[in-house]
Symmetry: C2
Subunit: 295 residues, 2 copies
């Protein structure tokens, strides 16, 4: 908080897990000083620096369920669950992410995933009865006493990977693909959900085999990122193959092909090149950069 | 498959993603040669080598929903969804996992997570209507035409981490904890769910701070494992700290403390030591071993 009592736009959010299960602490935090994330549906209001704008809880619909996001110092920060599930177009989401300040990405990603999950889980998947919000928004509870199931927000692990082929002359090639209906001439790293029963490394190998027919030898984890459309944990990996012939799965991809180091470097330098690179805020961008830097 | 037409107990399961959305291929695979995982509730029948036993689809309850697990060569492999959610005690689950062959872990883990998820998702979380199985068991669809939501099996990412403290004399200490109600004198790596909006590395730091009050500097991913109780993706990491004073979160842990390299080595060698090590099939066991080997 600044000296004037105005909240500073940039702050670290303490998730304050211990508060969630403490109804007294939670209701105390819902007082005058509480902050409400300014959301229109799932789209945040941002200031000129790309920082999320906050209001007070009085701005929320009186019937709205409130999710406790965490603490900014001693002030509770909340977000309101939309009345019904909101469909956000990819363009609107991308416009938000493009403008959003890097250091606010996690705060927005967490809030968006949570309130969207609540809006889509007002009923119990086990018995069909109503559910009510619990633990400050980190749980929903079935109201049917014969069921009483608890439900928790979900985060879906997704692998995303740069796959490298080494030529006999020592040069390197990178496997990139284009999803169906992707804008412009965008090519990016292949990606896919981790399935029940798999490790990260198995999921990488299965996805690359399914989508491009390429067997992958060694797989290495590089970095992760939250991706709130709707609630993924992107697991950035890199892998090596000695196989060249691509078989594109046309139900998933429009195209997949090998690019040379020079081609990727040109595109990532921002100059017009053979294809469009993934946007800078996507983990795919970071993975392509790491591939160029041989991380 | 062996020459005699009997299925071999050990085989690689091809998840055959392309079959799931192809009703004709699926129904063809459900013929005479199809294999059904022998499950009692969620507990598999195992042979003397710890391999899963399989029967034919005629052994399934005629009303049971069937999940397509994948292909063994050209034979479809399936598992039946229990009529109602099954509660498995930790002891029964551990007994299964202890006996299960290493190379069958992923097959069982995937099947168990899937059929358990179906048994708990017979209703639409969005509108409360019934759902029906779709895509060979990799989806459920709401029957209410005004809703029509699709639901997908979930996999919850969980971080689990060895945290190392380096002494001035160059010796190393390892942070381990005991969960509430854990058997015997078991100590293991701290662990916790990745929350919406977090990276793996952020989740590791938050969990270790919450559970033990220890700030973690550098975090490094080491390995992952599926854990079907009910459906986790365990993300094994290691981290370094320079902080000594532990503050145990008594709502989560019974104890947390530093162990010396000698103490951990003794316990992991199988000799009676200061504590009991996590069982060999758990990723925690692998993480402790990697810590000793300075991986």
């Amino acid at each position: 908080m600044s000296q004037t009592g105005q909240p500073t736009a940039l702050f670290e959010l303490d998730r304050a897990d211990h508060v969630r299960a403490d109804p007294d602490a939670l209701s105390e935090l819902m007082g005058m000083r509480a902050r409400l994330m300014k959301l229109h549906g799932l789209t945040p209001e941002l200031d000129d620096n790309g920082c999320i704008k906050w209001g007070s809880l009085t701005e929320a619909d009186p019937d709205a369920e409130l999710v406790f996001l965490g603490l900014d110092g001693d002030r509770g920060c909340f977000a309101a669950v939309p009345k019904r599930p909101v469909q956000v177009q990819r363009g609107e989401f991308m416009a938000t992410i493009t403008r959003l300040h890097d250091r606010q990405f996690g705060i927005y990603a967490g809030a968006r995933s949570l309130v969207d999950w609540h809006a889509r889980h007002r009923f119990c998947a086990q018995c069909g009865a109503h559910t009510t919000i619990g633990k400050g928004g980190w749980q929903r509870n079935c109201v049917n006493p014969d069921c009483g199931a608890s439900h928790f927000p979900r985060t879906d692990p997704v692998t995303i990977m740069t796959i490298e082929r080494r030529e006999e002359d020592g040069s390197r090639r990178l496997l990139l693909g284009r999803g169906l209906g992707w804008p412009g001439n965008l090519y990016s790293a292949l990606a896919g959900f981790v399935e029940p029963g798999e490790t990260i490394e198995e999921a990488v190998r299965r996805e690359v085999m399914e989508e491009a027919g390429i067997p992958v030898a060694q797989v290495r984890y590089l970095a992760s990122q939250a991706w709130p459309m709707p609630s993924q944990l992107m697991l950035g990996c890199t892998g090596v193959t000695f196989h060249e012939h691509i078989v594109v799965d046309r139900t998933e991809l429009e195209d997949a092909r090998w690019f040379s180091e020079e081609q990727v470097r040109e595109v990532m330098s921002g100059r017009p090149g053979l294809f469009e690179a993934p946007p800078r805020y996507a983990i795919a961008h970071k993975l392509l950069r790491m591939w160029l830097e041989k991380v």
